[in-house]
C-alpha cells in the first residue's frame, strides 16, 4: 500500500495478489496472457493465409515442408524468448517469504 502525494485512497502495491493462492493468481494471469498470444498468432495466420491464397503464391504443403536457415532459426528463437517472457513473467511476481508460507 502506498500513500499518494496529497491524500485520497492509498494505492495498491505494484503487484497485488487477488486470489487466495498466489500461484493460482499467477496461473490466472498466464491463462489470460496465453489467450492473448493465441489470438495474436491466429490473427496473423488468418491474414497470411488469406493473402497467400488470394495471390496464388503458396500451398499448405510449402508451409509443412519449410526448413529454416540459420538466420531464420535465430529470428524464431528470439520471438520464442519474447513469447516466453510475455507469458511466464508472471512467475517472477509470486511472493516468497515467511508471510507467504503455506499453513497446515
Amino acid at each position: 500500500m502506498s500513500e499518494t502525494p496529497e491524500g485520497g485512497t492509498p494505492l495498491a502495491d505494484e503487484y497485488p495478489v487477488y486470489l487466495p493462492d498466489p500461484v493460482v493468481d499467477a496461473a490466472m494471469r498466464m491463462i489470460v496472457e496465453l489467450s492473448a498470444q493465441l489470438w495474436v498468432e491466429r490473427e496473423r495466420r488468418m491474414v497470411t493465409e488469406q493473402l497467400l491464397e488470394s495471390r496464388g503464391l503458396l500451398s499448405r504443403e510449402d508451409i509443412e515442408s519449410f526448413k529454416a536457415d540459420p538466420t531464420q532459426v535465430a529470428e524464431i528463437k528470439a520471438e520464442r524468448a519474447r513469447f516466453l517472457e510475455d507469458v511466464f513473467k508472471e512467475l517472477k511476481r509470486i511472493p516468497v517469504g515467511p508471510s507467504h508460507s503455506k499453513s497446515g
Binding site: 499518494t4 502525494p5 496529497e6 491524500g7 485520497g8 485512497t9 492509498p10 494505492l11 495498491a12 497485488p16 487477488y18 486470489l19 487466495p20 493468481d25 490466472m28 494471469r29 489470460v32 496472457e33 489467450s35 492473448a36 498470444q37 489470438w39 495474436v40 490473427e43 496473423r44 491474414v47 510475455d86
Partner: protein
C-alpha cells in the same frame, strides 16, 4: 478489428495491434455482459443486504463481502490484468520506435493550423505524481506519455471512440449560453485535445483553447489537431491557475478530470472556472457519478478503481458535494444523470452550470 484513426501513432508490429485488439475485446468481455461479473456480484450484494435487513452503508463492508466471493476475487484479478497487459504492450511497442515518434512530435510542434504554447519554466505540482490508470510514468514523465494515453484510452473505450465519436457526442450535448454568444471556449485538462477539436468543429468561428499541465499530452494534442486541420491553441498551465483574464470565456468545459484531483484542487479549479467564465456563460462538466447514485457494486468498483487502477482521488470526488461547491462559487447547477440523457452506464454524470 476496430478501425484506428489516423492521428493514433502506428504500433511497431502488427502483432502489437492484434494483442491490443485482444485486450480491448477481453476488457469488453469481463466488464460487460460476457462474463457478467457486475450484475451477478451486484445481485449477491442486494440479496445479502436483504438477508441482513439493512442497506449497505460503508464501502468497507461492501469490499469485505465482495472479496469473500471467489467470483469477486477473480473479477479483480482479471480487471487488473487487462490493464497491465495494455500498458506492457504499448510501452514495448513505443520503445521500439521511440526516436521516430519523438521526431514526429518535433515535426508537428512548429506547424499549424493552431498553436502550441509550452512553458519551459513549468514545474508539475506534487499531486500529479501518480500513475493514473496505471499508465507507466503517469501523464507527464515519459516524452511519449501523450501517445500512451491516446492509445490507452482507445482500448479503455472499447472501440466506441476510435473516431472520437464519444467526444463529438458529449460536446454536442453542452448547452450554449442563453444569449447564444459563444466566441471563446476553454477545455480544461484537455489531454490529447479530442474535446478541444470537437468544440472547434461545433463552433467554427470560436477561439478555442485547450489547457493541460502535461507537455507530452499537449504535443500530441497539437499534432493531432494540426493533422486534422483544426485551428485551436494548446497552452501548458494548471487548470486551477490558467492565467486567462476574468470572464474571458463563454463556455468552459471539463471532461473526466475532477476525479483525478485532490479535494483542495477540486475547489481551486471550480473557483478558477468561475473566474474565467463570463456571467451567463456555461461551465460543463462530465465526470464520475456521485456515490449516492451508485449501486452497491458500482460503489465497490469505485473503491477498486481508486486503489487498484491509480485513481486515488476519485472516491473523495464522488463523496463530495460537488453541486454545493459549484453553487458556492456562483454557478446555477443543472445536473441530470448522464444515463437518462445520453444512454450512459450509470458511472458517469454531467453538470451543466450557468455562471450567475
Amino acid at each position: 478489428m476496430s478501425k484506428v484513426i489516423d492521428s493514433l501513432p502506428s504500433l511497431a508490429r502488427r502483432s502489437d495491434v492484434a494483442y491490443l485488439d485482444f485486450v480491448e475485446g477481453f476488457r469488453e468481455f469481463i466488464l460487460g455482459k460476457g462474463a457478467d461479473f457486475e450484475d451477478r456480484l451486484n445481485q449477491a450484494l442486494v440479496d445479502e443486504a436483504a438477508r441482513r435487513g439493512q442497506d449497505w452503508q460503508d464501502v468497507e463492508h461492501i469490499r469485505e463481502f465482495v472479496q469473500q466471493q471467489p467470483l469477486g476475487c477473480l473479477r479483480d484479478r482479471l480487471a487488473r490484468t487487462q490493464q497491465e497487459m495494455k500498458w506492457h504492450a504499448l510501452v514495448r511497442s513505443f520503445d521500439e520506435q521511440r526516436a521516430k515518434l519523438v521526431g514526429e512530435l518535433e515535426h508537428w510542434a512548429s506547424r499549424g493550423p493552431g498553436d502550441l504554447l509550452l512553458d519551459p519554466e513549468f514545474v508539475p505540482p506534487s499531486y500529479v505524481n501518480v500513475h493514473f490508470h496505471l499508465q507507466p510514468g503517469g501523464y507527464f514523465k515519459d516524452e511519449l506519455s501523450g501517445f500512451l494515453y491516446h492509445w490507452g484510452t482507445k482500448v479503455f473505450f472499447r472501440g466506441d471512440n476510435d473516431a472520437d465519436q464519444l467526444h463529438a457526442r458529449l460536446t454536442r450535448f453542452v448547452p450554449t449560453p442563453a444569449d447564444g454568444r459563444v466566441l471563446r471556449i476553454l477545455d480544461m485538462a484537455c489531454s490529447v485535445g479530442q474535446s478541444t477539436t470537437a468544440f472547434r468543429r461545433r463552433f467554427p468561428e470560436a477561439e478555442v483553447w485547450g489547457v493541460d499541465y502535461s507537455a507530452p499530452m499537449l504535443k500530441v494534442a497539437h499534432r493531432r489537431a494540426a493533422m486534422l486541420g483544426d485551428e485551436v491553441t494548446f497552452k501548458q498551465a494548471l487548470i486551477e491557475h490558467t492565467g486567462f483574464a476574468d470572464e474571458y470565456f463563454d463556455l468552459t468545459f471539463a471532461f473526466i478530470v475532477f476525479h483525478e484531483l485532490p479535494l483542495r484542487v477540486i475547489e481551486e479549479t471550480v473557483r478558477e472556472a468561475a473566474r474565467v467564465t463570463r456571467k451567463g456563460g456555461v461551465f460543463a462538466v462530465y465526470d464520475f457519478a456521485r456515490t449516492a447514485d451508485k449501486s452497491p457494486f458500482q460503489r465497490y468498483h469505485r473503491w477498486f478503481d481508486a486503489r487498484h487502477n491509480g485513481e486515488p482521488y476519485s472516491q473523495d470526488f464522488c463523496d463530495c458535494d460537488f453541486d454545493g461547491l459549484l453553487r458556492c462559487y456562483g454557478f446555477r447547477v443543472d445536473a441530470t444523470p448522464l444515463g437518462q440523457r445520453a444512454g450512459g452506464s450509470g458511472y458517469m454524470q454531467n453538470w451543466f452550470a450557468i455562471r450567475e
